[in-house]
């Protein structure tokens, strides 16, 4: 058979592309290497009941995949580590029908106008490839609005003074703010910051046939048992209900086949382990910024920038203890407030940049709060006589509050995904190797903003505060040696887009410069990392690219 389009990956990017293409009457086959726990494929109007409030299943036993034994990744800081320093679970996003959207707590902010033109607005940084995107905010705005409608986003349009302009309101009002978040937002406001209700891919009211979120608290890392998260189930379900889409789970695409300057289809291995091929007019690749460049490399594509400029978000995490409070962070959607002040240059950050010898400095969105789970908590405390008392008084969960800054991570050519020379996945293919070392900009921004976040916690009444970063830095923020792979699941930038084939791999519509019927529909195409969660932007880009495909 020949499909109009094969889509590799069923996460927010692939699902959005499928929704747009099938609505235009295209026949689409979606390949997903993970299992399906989301939609009844025989009866796509029915959503499955496999997700649950089960910490063992989702955190300790890889229910959403990937299983690090079957599909490991490797990590190293640089060539000094040899082939790799670590083999196993590296920065993994779920490998399942619905992809990363299934496990996220669904914060979906838009980027700001400046984020599409960092070279013009801020300028270059030594050792980094800061560049403008090949499109600007105004070109993407209609697709942001469309993606918000497709997903069902709740938010408050006038709440964030730093937000980019919008053509209309959010589809839904924000859901309830968490108790701890109300306290931390009040403390932040008292110090002149500007917290606002996080735009959420969680229904605050019934939307598109799915119920309102009931704030069960098992949000970040968990699939939603009641399907109140719209991302990307809404798009997948719509695509399947057109009758124009087929979704094949447990099917690994191992190669994009080409003839001359065009792709002709893909090779894939289904649940029976047999390798087959399928032809298509277009191949849309939406495996995420790690698996997408891996597939291009497995296919033998040889553009020297494939896999390069890997970006994550450099996380600066400030935590504070509140002996006098019970913050019950397990009620709610993990994070209900954000603030963007660290994205905006001010006198203090300019001075800090100058002192660090940097032309400019940019932090990222700051999340108020975070997941609150007892097994994760228990493993922090020492074993023995004090254990139960620790769990009851709960200094590291119920009496703790946190800020996480998702710091802008500069694009650096040596940070990259390539194929590991020795480690294989269960099907025998080389796995992705993640080579990453933060630019000193990230360390300086962490050193500048970390204490400011701790000061908010003190204003909130914290008896103690502490600052850590991910990746960790020896000697604290500002130190030089990273020790571990970044914790952030925001991965971006390995199939960079641009207008010049010498400095970019894909064009402004995600088409590979050298194979124009291969379209990248995920965060791989990001040019810079923004300091905002990537999901809504990658969905908007996927909608825009798919719209261009159907003409």
């Amino acid at each position: 058979m020949t499909a109009d389009a094969i889509i590799v990956g069923s996460g927010p990017g692939g699902a959005t592309a499928a929704d747009v293409l099938t609505a235009a009457g295209w026949s689409v086959v979606i390949f997903e290497k993970g299992r399906n726990h989301l939609i009844d494929l025989e009866d796509p109007g029915r959503l499955l009941g496999d997700y649950s409030n089960d910490e063992i299943k989702f955190i300790d036993r890889y229910f959403l995949g990937p299983d690090p034994f079957l599909e490991p990744r490797t990590f190293r800081v640089g060539p000094d580590d040899g082939d790799h320093a670590f083999v196993g679970e590296v920065n993994s996003i779920p490998s399942t029908v619905g992809g990363g959207g299934t496990h996220a707590d669904g914060k979906v902010p838009r980027f700001r106008e400046e984020d599409f033109a960092m070279l013009t607005s801020r300028g270059p940084q030594e050792g980094a490839s800061v560049a403008d995107w090949p499109l600007d905010y105004s070109e993407l705005e209609p697709f942001y609005a469309e993606a918000e409608r497709m997903i069902g986003v709740s938010g408050q349009a006038d709440a964030n003074p730093f937000a980019a302009w919008r053509s209309g309101p959010y589809p839904m009002p924000p859901g309830p703010s968490m108790y701890g978040s109300k306290l931390s937002a009040a403390a932040a406001e008292s110090l002149g910051y500007h917290p606002y209700p996080a735009p959420g891919a969680t229904n605050s009211e019934r939307y598109d046939g799915r119920p309102a979120c009931n704030n069960c608290g098992f949000c970040a890392f968990f699939g939603c048992p009641i399907h109140a998260k719209g991302d990307p189930v809404a798009m997948l379900q719509r695509a399947l209900l057109t009758g124009n889409a087929e979704l094949r789970p447990e099917t690994f695409v191992s190669r994009i086949r080409t003839a001359g300057s065009r792709a002709t289809g893909v090779d894939f291995i289904g649940p029976d382990g047999v390798e087959r091929s399928m032809d298509a007019r277009y191949v849309v690749v939406a495996g995420g910024a790690v698996e997408t460049p891996r597939l291009l490399l497995l296919s033998g594509f040889d553009h020297p920038l494939i896999g390069r400029h890997l970006m994550t978000h450099f996380q600066t995490i400030a935590v504070g203890g509140f002996a006098h409070l019970r913050l019950h962070g397990e009620r709610g959607r993990a994070v209900t407030e954000l603030q963007d002040d660290a994205l905006i240059p001010d006198e203090a950050s300019r001075a800090a940049a100058k002192e660090a010898g940097l032309p400019w400095m940019k932090g990222g969105m700051v999340e108020h709060g975070g997941p609150s789970l007892p097994i994760l908590e228990a493993k922090i405390y020492p074993w023995g006589r004090s254990h139960k008392e620790s769990m009851r008084s709960s200094p590291m969960r119920d009496r703790m509050w946190a800020f996480t800054m998702q710091g802008e991570d500069l694009p650096v050519a040596t940070n990259r995904i390539d194929l590991d020379p020795t480690i294989r996945d269960v099907r025998g293919f080389p796995v992705a190797r993640y080579t990453y070392k933060p630019h000193r900009h990230e360390l300086a921004a962490a050193a500048h903003h970390g204490p400011r976040l701790a000061a908010i916690l003190e204003a909130m009444g914290a008896g103690w505060t502490s600052i850590v970063t991910s990746p960790g830095t020896a000697g604290g923020p500002g130190g030089r040696t990273t020790e571990h792979a970044p914790m952030s699941r925001h991965v971006m930038g390995t199939v960079r887009m641009g207008t010049d084939p010498a400095t970019s791999v894909a064009d402004a519509h995600g088409r590979l410069h050298h194979l124009e019927n291969v379209v990248i529909a995920d965060s791989s195409v990001f040019v810079t990392s923004s300091g905002y969660g990537p999901t809504l932007t990658l969905a908007a880009l996927a909608a825009r690219s798919a719209t261009a495909m159907v003409g």
């Binding site: 089960d54 108790y179 704030n215 019950h328 397990e330 007892p374 006589r385 139960k388 269960v426």
Partner: protein, 186 residues
């Protein structure tokens, strides 16, 4: 009776878990059945479907049918992954695509033997000294003990939810969830 462990191993493991998460004036690891959780993991493939992933979407503790009790079937690949993780690679080529894997069963059998057959009868101090002498194994058991103490009861631990009730954690709350007021107010 134990599922996979021998009676002596089960007795030692019970003592280890109680030393890691001891009862004070509230229930400890023994009361919560933490050793049963670990034994259930080591013997997960004694059941069909294997007890790896509990079902959904709700447990029944806050209403609705008790879906957690019906464990998921595993795909062939996932069965291979979990058998390898639990049993080890046992020299089988299909499990050794990145080299041999030592399974949890072997680690527990060796680790418990290393603690001594008399472990359960030793003083607290002696038990502590032996656990500190094998930090890798102690860390392995402690991680599993935390899961067995504070995870869903369907996996064999956290008996009657004592791990949760004692720390003021409601556990799985679907389909009830939390009201806006419970989310936003103290």
């Amino acid at each position: 009776m134990a599922i996979w462990l021998t009676g002596d191993e089960y007795r030692t493991l019970t003592a280890v878990c109680e030393r890691l998460i001891p009862a004070d004036h509230t229930p400890g690891a023994t009361d919560a059945g933490v050793a049963d959780y670990i034994d259930g993991l080591l013997g997960a493939f004694s059941f069909d479907p294997p007890r790896i992933w509990a079902g959904g979407p709700v447990s029944g503790r806050f209403g609705g049918p008790g879906g957690f009790a019906g464990f998921h079937h595993l795909t062939a690949l996932d069965e291979m992954a979990w058998r390898t993780r639990i049993e080890g690679s046992l020299g089988r080529p299909e499990r050794e695509f990145n080299g041999p894997v030592v399974g949890l069963q072997e680690r527990y059998r060796a680790g418990l033997a290393g603690l001594g057959a008399d472990f359960a009868d030793c003083s607290r101090e002696e038990q502590g000294a032996r656990l500190y002498a094998d930090p890798d194994f102690t860390g392995l058991v402690y991680g599993h003990a935390c899961e067995g103490m504070y995870g869903a009861p369907e996996y064999g631990g956290n008996r009657d939810g004592v791990g949760w009730s004692n720390i003021g954690f409601a556990g799985d709350v679907q389909p009830r969830g939390w009201s806006d007021r419970e989310v936003s107010e103290p």
